[in-house]
Subunit: 205 residues, 2 copies
DNA sequence: TGGTTTACATACATTCATGTTTGTTTATAA
DNA sequence: TTATAAACAAACATGAATGTATGTAAACCA
């Protein structure tokens, strides 16, 4: 291989990210040598070090590729003012996230890598902080939707939107973790949608 | 140092496990060289390889030391037949688990290592499976308690014990994850007990 | 059309971690 | 009381993995 056009270079970059994701998944991030990623991508380490500063940089690129669109999607579903069934809004968001995980291999693998194949120390500790702050935003948005649901009289009397939001956040965090880790049995993956329905039903008046 | 008695050897073994836990926490499991653990424990690698086959073996020892008693505690709290307030039973179990995490550094560090400083591949993949199967048992036990609560008329009419159990499982899994990861802000750690209360209140008639 | 830069491949230097083997001392059991 | 084995320390051998430096050919621009 030799010199390519700008578009070719972009393809190479993408090949490297794809190879990294798969190899991270199989061997874990820290146990994955750059050499292995390079082989899988059909390039040499030189190519990787041209496109990325180091493994952390490559990891970040892989991560952002699925997380940025996911955050956009969240806002798209949750923050629609013109909605007269806010509770279903939340349900739809949860359900569709699971759907994406189920249908899109890239997204699923990225989640799998981030949740079970990565050690959050040193340079990676910052990633954890990023995710955490992201969660805060998530809770706030959900709380807003629950408030709208309350205004529309959807909630049971006495239920506090803030408490419901926290509860839903923990629920969904747990569901995601178990869903991703449930590779063998498949029991959770089968019942995830139903569990979401039940979770929301618990709130409905 | 030279030859010790059986009790001295046991002390050394414990020193190694303690050192491993702390070092795993600081540097991550795979980025922790045996040498570093040895230094921290005040021994040489020779001592570690005498007590443990390799790093995985050492990791397992660390893990079992806090997990086995924790499972016993779960049974102890959840499976008391002579209880006329099953819902509070579950609440107490959740609350006390958080309390243990909060008060006992060894347990907390072990959880931190297992949730954010370990890559579950190869030999470690089995650990994940172990945890998963453990969770199944957990859900079953909770479901049993919810059934007892239903019999005593504690639940809202129409609520299904199995669905409630799943929901609680996800809730607690998520709470644990966020609690452990919430090192900087401390917001979740402050409100955990309250969130548990709210979660159970959502079920009470 | 020739120089410059891009997009890599190749080669190099260095560091580090693991597992094993051998050596040493002492508790312990026969 | 002495041989054995436990509980390590120290030395050895080996194999990676990383980052950088250098080489190179083609695209691109003047």
């Amino acid at each position: 291989m030799v010199r390519k056009t700008k578009e070719d270079a972009e393809i190479t970059r993408q090949l490297i990210i794809d190879a990294a994701r798969e190899t991270f998944f199989v061997r874990g991030v820290s146990r994955t040598p750059m050499e292995t990623i390079a082989e899988k991508a059909g390039v040499t380490r030189g190519a990787i070090y041209w496109h990325f500063r180091n493994k952390t940089d490559l990891f970040q690129a892989m991560r952002e590729q699925v997380f940025l669109p996911l955050i956009d999607r969240m806002d798209g579903i949750l923050l629609v003012e013109s909605e007269d069934d806010p509770l279903s809004c939340i349900e739809r968001f949860f359900t569709s996230t699971i759907q994406v995980l189920n249908d899109d291999l890239k997204t699923r693998r990225t989640y799998e890598v981030m949740m079970t194949r990565c050690e959050y120390v040193d340079e990676f500790a910052e990633v954890l902080r990023l995710i955490l702050s992201n969660c805060s935003g998530f809770v706030e948005k959900i709380e807003l939707v629950y408030k709208r649901a309350q205004d529309k009289g959807q909630l049971r009397p006495g239920d506090d939107p803030a408490a419901l939001a926290m509860d839903s956040h923990f629920f969904f965090t747990g569901l995601l973790h178990m869903w991703v880790k449930d590779v063998e049995d498949g029991n959770i993956r089968k019942n995830a949608i139903q569990a979401i329905k039940a979770h929301i039903a618990l709130r409905r008046r």
